[in-house]
């Protein structure tokens, strides 16, 4: 005889199992395998964009550096000021992970300084992952649910994903959810 409790328990177990199977959570690889400092030239063969952008830890690190390295002094919390906005769909020098890393490390001619020598390449990838999260490019469960800044802002995990305009390689284009 199955009591009503038994049925409820069984249902709960079933629901949990189904839930776990269906839950494709972002990988928590915070110790992780070291990622290469250099990658293949073809973006789709480079493991780094996905590895950094798909991981909450890497994005959170990027968020810390964003304030520490004074990125927020020019771009503020995505709306821009001295530098252009980072929360919209417009990317002067391309919006792919690799293009953003290049911009951070090399600088750009209209005022973006080069941070080469001030941060490591891995930190630049972490920063790029946070920069892309300002327009909600990474998967939603990896996006920061709270900001580090003083003023309260809607969590990035609730923000709308922006399309990324054409200068960006196909593989890094926003994937509609």
């Amino acid at each position: 005889m199955s009591s009503p409790f038994r049925t409820a328990e069984a249902l709960l177990v079933l629901a949990l199992a189904a839930g776990l199977a269906g839950c494709d959570r972002e990988t928590r690889d915070s110790r992780g395998t070291p990622l290469p400092e250099t990658g293949p030239s073809a973006d789709r063969l480079d493991p780094r964009p996905a590895a950094y952008e798909g991981n909450a830890f890497q994005i959170a690190q990027g968020q810390r550096y964003y304030a520490w390295m004074n990125c927020s002094g020019c771009h503020f919390h995505g709306g821009g000021g001295i530098g252009p906005p980072l929360m919209d769909s417009d990317w002067r020098y391309g919006g792919s992970m690799r293009q953003i890393v290049d911009t951070i490390l090399e600088g750009r001619p209209n005022g973006m300084p080069s941070f080469k020598g001030r941060i490591t390449e891995a930190q630049a990838w972490q920063l790029a992952a946070f920069v892309r999260s300002m327009s909600a490019q990474p998967r939603r469960d990896a996006l920061p649910s709270r900001g580090d800044e003083m003023s309260n802002r809607e969590p990035l995990s609730l923000s709308e994903q922006e399309p990324i305009l054409k200068t960006t390689p196909e593989s890094d284009q926003a994937k509609p959810r």
Partner: protein, 558 residues
């Protein structure tokens, strides 16, 4: 010079355009500058030529006023380094050129001062003064006095060290350079330095009033207006905010930032200094204009400078001694309860002091102050000072700022919004003798344009949504207005043309700190954008667009 005279009155003695005739004003020149950034400069008219300095890339145009439509006589492109745009805090503006002895002097965003032959547009000399790698730029209009070109740096948001330099107008060689922080020998403080108040007296205060070596990156830039008293041979100018904005990183009075210097023009030696904001809490640069007037005070006529300061107080200061005769609020202030005239010290309100890790709300006036750089005008006919200014408050959240050369050094999250009443701008006609406002005009948008007073008893100014207005200088009644292509943040001027008629000229072209949202294409969803000004300007993109244009107005012939 953009300020019309050494006393910085911005008063034109021309009266052909007056209360009655102003209704007939018509545009006689309407020409684009080909530049979409904030146009803060004054068109400069000398003889039959008008000179215009554009925002970055700082092209200079000479226009022939003898011909219809004012065709270009020559153009000079200084080609400043594009990277300088990345260290310009508040749009890539330029406040104009100055003319003296057949030459036109102007500054470039990447820190050069250039002298051109005014007739041909050929370069006579150029001097590299500021270093963009340290975050220095130059945006101010120079002043020529006593054969010297006076130039100061910008970059108070980048941890630079402020200075004012005097260059020989003939050769461009450096005559003297006075820093705003550091040991007395760098600040050009010697035996002749006699500040009125005890707080400004002492040895090497530019070092002692800072923690450690913070003075080396302590700000005190000189990006505003300089006035000159040819009789006393003294120049007067204010110094900018200390760096970083977060005040907890710099305990002390932070000399010689946010105050006013009087210096001997020939040697640069300081005569006196008055610090209006010891240990500035709110980015209240003291760089606003000093209008030199002789006013009856206590039964005697005294030489004074009148300063509508960013902290919201209208200072009347003795030109010779540096004594503050009065400091009265001309806007809404809740961050200070007054100025103690015995000690000279501003009395701050403790509950409005920014603290690391907290957001302090409802600070008035906001970071750009009750008034920013845009200059006032004084009419001797009405005895009123016309002050175009702001009514903004803010929330501030302070945090530790890291110093990285060539990047911002601020440590503050800011959100601005309209102050009491909901209007973001005000034009105040201030009576400096009675020490109160005679009348006010409330403007919806912040006022970021200068004012122009004329002997026709008119006052001209512009709004950020592009209305160029003439009001009655006696009572502020609106007499004439016209909508221009873009918001007005420049300095209107009046001149007598080669044909003998009176003209009014103004540049439209929204931008600057207040208009960066439109000029730099920012995203209004982030309220902290452009150091928090974006939050107060969300409606601007619907009310104007970016476009630089020169307009000249005149009455119809006959």
């Amino acid at each position: 010079m953009p300020s019309k005279d050494y006393a910085s009155t911005r008063y034109s003695g021309l009266a052909e355009i007056n209360r009655q005739s102003v209704k007939g004003l018509q545009a006689v020149v309407n020409v684009g500058t080909g530049n979409l950034r904030g146009h803060e400069a004054a068109p400069l008219v000398v003889g039959s030529t008008m000179y215009i300095v554009t925002p970055f890339p700082n092209d200079v145009y000479a226009l022939d006023l003898t011909k219809p439509g004012a065709p270009v006589k020559w153009r000079f492109s200084p080609k400043p380094r594009p990277t300088s745009q990345g260290v310009a805090c508040c749009d890539v503006v330029n406040r104009g050129g100055v003319y003296a002895d057949g030459r036109l002097f102007f500054n470039t965003l990447d820190g050069q001062t250039i002298a051109l032959d005014a007739g041909s547009g050929r370069q006579v000399w150029r001097a590299q003064l500021a270093d963009i790698n340290k975050g220095e730029t130059i945006t101010m209009a120079p002043l020529v006095a006593d054969g010297k070109v006076l130039v100061g740096n910008s970059g108070g948001e980048f941890g630079v060290r402020g200075w004012l330099a005097a260059l020989d107008a003939g050769s461009g060689a450096l005559v003297w350079k006075a820093y705003s922080t550091g040991p007395d020998k760098d600040v050009l403080i010697g035996p002749g330095f006699k500040p009125f108040y005890a707080m400004d007296q002492g040895k090497d205060l530019g070092v002692a009033s800072w923690p450690g070596e913070q003075w080396k990156i302590g700000g005190g830039t000189v990006w505003g207006w300089i006035s000159y008293d040819p009789k006393l041979k003294m120049v007067y100018y204010g110094t900018g905010n200390p760096g970083p904005w977060n005040p907890q990183q710099r305990p002390g009075d932070n000399k010689w930032t946010t105050g006013v210097f009087a210096r001997d023009v020939s040697t640069g030696q300081a005569r006196w200094f008055y610090q209006s904001n010891p240990h500035d809490l709110y980015d209240h640069d003291d760089i606003n204009e000093s209008i030199l007037l002789d006013l009856p005070i206590g039964g005697r006529t005294r030489p004074v400078l009148v300063r509508p300061s960013r902290n919201g107080f209208m200072y009347v200061i003795d030109r010779i001694t540096g004594q503050v005769y009065s400091a009265d609020p001309y806007g809404y202030i809740n961050s200070a309860s007054g100025v103690d005239l015995k000690t000279g010290r501003l009395v701050p309100v403790a509950s409005k002091e920014p603290k690391e890790g907290y957001v302090v709300r409802g600070i008035c006036p906001a970071a750009p102050g009750a008034k920013d750089w845009n200059p006032s005008a004084y009419s001797p006919r009405t005895g009123l000072l016309y002050v175009p200014h702001l009514n903004l408050c803010m929330d501030e959240g302070a945090m530790d700022a890291n110093y990285i050369a060539g990047t911002p050094y601020v440590g503050m999250d800011v959100k601005m919004y309209a102050g009491p009443g909901g209007n973001r701008g005000v034009l105040t006609a201030w009576d400096p003798v009675r020490r109160k406002a005679a009348w006010e005009i409330k403007e919806d948008l912040p006022l970021w344009s200068g004012a122009l007073a004329t002997a026709g008893d008119l006052l001209f100014y512009g709004t950020m949504d592009g209305w160029f207005k003439a009001v009655d200088a006696a009572d502020g009644k609106l007499l004439w207005q016209v909508r221009l292509a873009s918001g007005i943040i420049s300095q209107p001027v009046s001149y007598r043309g080669p044909d003998g008629r009176q003209y009014i000229a103004v540049l439209s072209g929204v931008g600057g700190w207040s208009g960066a949202l439109v000029a730099a294409g920012l995203d209004a969803r982030d309220p902290t954008g452009a150091l928090g000004f974006v939050n107060a300007m969300r409606d601007l993109p619907l009310r104007t667009k970016a476009e630089g244009r020169l307009y000249v107005f005149a009455l119809p012939h006959g």
